[in-house]
Symmetry: C2
């Protein structure tokens, strides 16, 4: 199997991974959620070659996760913003952050705190069932073919 074939698999993980399942793509998305928008800023923060940045931004734009927005003319310059589809990746990123916080944070605690504006508290994400509202973990889930 080739990487591009992932998108054709009858599996939502495979299809998503074809879009976002790449180290640098995930790092770029992290920065997007932190408010980074410009090519130079991504490059500087990540410290990787510009080719990769250009490539990944192009890919994410083509997939509708980011959109290019002109922020000046003469010359026309674009920045990259999350679309609604991109914003929906927030749970993915938060879940990754939380796992990292739990298993790789040092003595001093997690590097970043997240505050829920509605209640004003620092929080971590909890995954719950859309039907009953209770927290869900791996052992509480049964999977079966749906198609």
């Amino acid at each position: 199997m080739k990487w591009e074939d992932l998108a054709q698999e009858p599996c939502s993980v495979a299809r998503s991974v074809a879009v976002i399942g790449d180290r640098w793509t995930l790092m770029i998305l992290r920065d997007c959620f932190l408010g980074v928008r410009r090519f130079e800023a991504f490059q500087e923060r990540l410290g990787i070659s510009r080719t990769i940045i250009a490539d990944r931004l192009k890919h994410l734009t083509a997939e509708g996760v980011l959109r290019r927005v002109a922020y000046q003319d003469h010359p026309t310059r674009y920045e990259y913003r999350l679309t609604d589809k991109g914003l929906e990746l927030h749970p993915v990123v938060m879940a990754i952050v939380h796992w990292g916080d739990r298993h790789y944070a040092g003595e001093a605690g997690p590097p970043l705190l997240h505050r829920h504006k509605a209640c004003g508290c620092d929080f971590h994400p909890v995954q719950t069932c859309s039907e009953c509202g209770e927290p869900v973990d791996a052992r509480a889930v049964e999977t079966r073919p749906g198609l």
Copy 2:
């Protein structure tokens, strides 16, 4: 920046991505959550070269996400099972699945359904605030340095 350097970054996304942020690693984890445990089974399901399977399984084992468990002697054969740390990746995988379901499922709906054993319903994951219990989305979160 090199890929291995990600683990040293003061960022939980970077540290997590250093462990699981690879296409094939994510696909292997998907299969783990579907109950796949054996080398041959991973290889057959993914259809990629055995070298990659061996490499990724080794990496995940070294990171404590999977553990090797002997399931027979003469010769001793091992299978790979999720550890508790690995099971904690469930929210990450579910979030990815849900995003894929929303944006890449065809007419017929998502390829897999997930049933919450406790309430018996098919569900999708909802990310909520650990403090107030309300659903959280990207715009409801403020980030600040915590260390």
